[in-house]
């Protein structure tokens, strides 16, 4: 699969074409429904008084939110990628990361399973390349010239 040189309109209807993008959790209606409570919990941490309450008693504070057991565990264990799988949106989960004193780079390292140093090194050397990271279908294709790439 060769790289498209000029933008080719793709249909946004039916089975959404964005599902083909690898390693990407597009925050559509289905995810928004699934993650609503998880994200609203994260959002609550933009208020100082809520940050204080969560800091002083995390378990009591989490009890106030109607999270699924999986979602609650993902929060307690800071499983950043799993939060996305359970409907989290990165701008919301970042509120929790910021609560922990993390930056977006820390969060990205957490989601991609590398150290912050490794992630920083990838970014300062040009970031994760687009080649090999465009399409799930191409990654599965036997030719393999869109195989996963990690920078």
């Amino acid at each position: 699969m060769s790289k498209p040189q000029s933008p080719t309109p793709e249909s946004d209807s039916a089975e959404p074409s964005y599902r083909d993008i690898p390693g990407t959790y597009v925050f559509d209606g289905a995810r928004c429904q699934r993650g609503y409570v998880l994200n609203m919990f994260c959002m609550s941490l933009t208020q100082e008084s809520n940050r204080d309450a969560f800091r002083s008693n995390p378990s009591d504070y989490l009890d106030q939110w109607d999270l699924t057991p999986d979602q609650r565990e993902s929060i307690e264990k800071r499983q950043w990628l799993r939060m996305l799988e359970l409907g989290g949106n990165v701008y919301y989960t970042f509120k929790l990361a910021a609560f922990d004193g993390m930056t977006f780079r820390h969060l990205a390292a957490g989601m991609t399973g590398v150290t912050i140093e490794e992630f920083a090194e990838m970014m300062t050397t040009g970031g994760r390349p687009i080649e090999g990271n465009r399409s799930r279908a191409a990654q599965r294709a036997p030719e393999g010239n869109e195989s996963p790439s990690h920078g």
Partner: protein
């Protein structure tokens, strides 16, 4: 009549604001970026717009998933920096322009754009970082600001075509305002970046450079690009680039590029800065 004389496209990376706020902008890691944008700051000091219309997106700061507006116009007399999870950013409050903002709101709605009107709204790094990029660290911002806030967090954002047409309608609205003030419009966000998932850290410099070219010379073609293409090629958060089309739509068909800089990376983002002036021809 008021007049939009310049369009500014800029990334709005929170780390850029944080570096300035912490006085780290001359540190070795940051100096190369701030050196590159000095020309833009000089242009701004010369151009002195009376009003800046800033098209940006809120990042779960003023708005949450409870209510997700597609297009918001801020009509308040002033806007306070939002608490994004670690206290409010220590920059001046942003002075609004209720009279022009209401004029625009009325014009845009009668022009069949389904605006949400915000009489009270905090503004996050999406709006304050572009001010920092262009103005540095003044004690008060030297312009009045009209925030135009676009949803790009919840899928689907407005189409590129809709953003471009909103820009055209903003042009009409400003032009029918009674003052003779000079207005700059900012399109902010992008360029390529992805903050989430196993693909976090994606950068696509080739795509970004093509985007900058096309924004200048082929905006109508760029307005046809789909959301999936942006997300695939420029990363899930690269979709913010649609907001540059609002800026471009508010400019004349032919523009003069007076400044361009790119820098990879600031934080996780391919950072772009572009200044356009209207050519004589419309």
């Amino acid at each position: 009549m008021a007049e939009i004389f310049a369009g500014i496209g800029t990334s709005h990376v929170p780390a850029v604001g944080a570096a300035m706020d912490a006085g780290k902008d001359r540190d070795p890691i940051w100096a190369p970026y701030f050196d590159k944008i000095e020309g833009a700051r000089n242009w701004m000091a010369e151009a002195k717009p009376d009003v800046c219309i800033i098209v940006y997106n809120d990042h779960a700061s003023a708005f949450s998933l409870e209510l997700i507006p597609t297009f918001v116009i801020g009509t308040a007399p002033s806007f306070v920096p939002a608490d994004e999870g670690f206290g409010r950013r220590q920059v001046p409050d942003v002075e609004g322009y209720p009279e022009l903002a209401w004029h625009m709101a009325e014009s845009l709605i009668l022009d069949e754009f389904d605006m949400t009107i915000a009489n009270q709204m905090d503004v996050d790094h999406g709006l304050t970082v572009p001010l920092s990029v262009m103005y540095g660290q003044p004690t008060t911002w030297p312009c009045r600001v009209i925030p135009i806030c676009v949803n790009v967090v919840q899928y689907p954002p407005p189409t590129g075509n809709r953003c471009f047409n909103l820009g055209r309608a903003i042009h009409r609205a400003v032009q029918s305002f009674h003052s003779d003030e000079r207005v700059a419009i900012f399109g902010t966000g992008g360029l390529s970046h992805q903050l989430q998932g196993e693909r976090a850290g994606l950068i696509n410099a080739e795509y970004d450079n093509a985007f900058l070219d096309r924004i200048v010379t082929e905006p109508e073609a760029q307005a046809k690009v789909t959301h999936t293409e942006y997300m695939r090629e420029a990363g899930s958060e690269g979709i913010e680039m649609v907001m540059w089309l609002v800026m471009r739509g508010a400019m004349n068909p032919v523009v003069k590029e007076v400044f361009r800089a790119t820098h990879i990376p600031t934080s996780n983002t391919s950072n772009g800065l572009l200044i356009l002036e209207n050519s004589a021809e419309r």
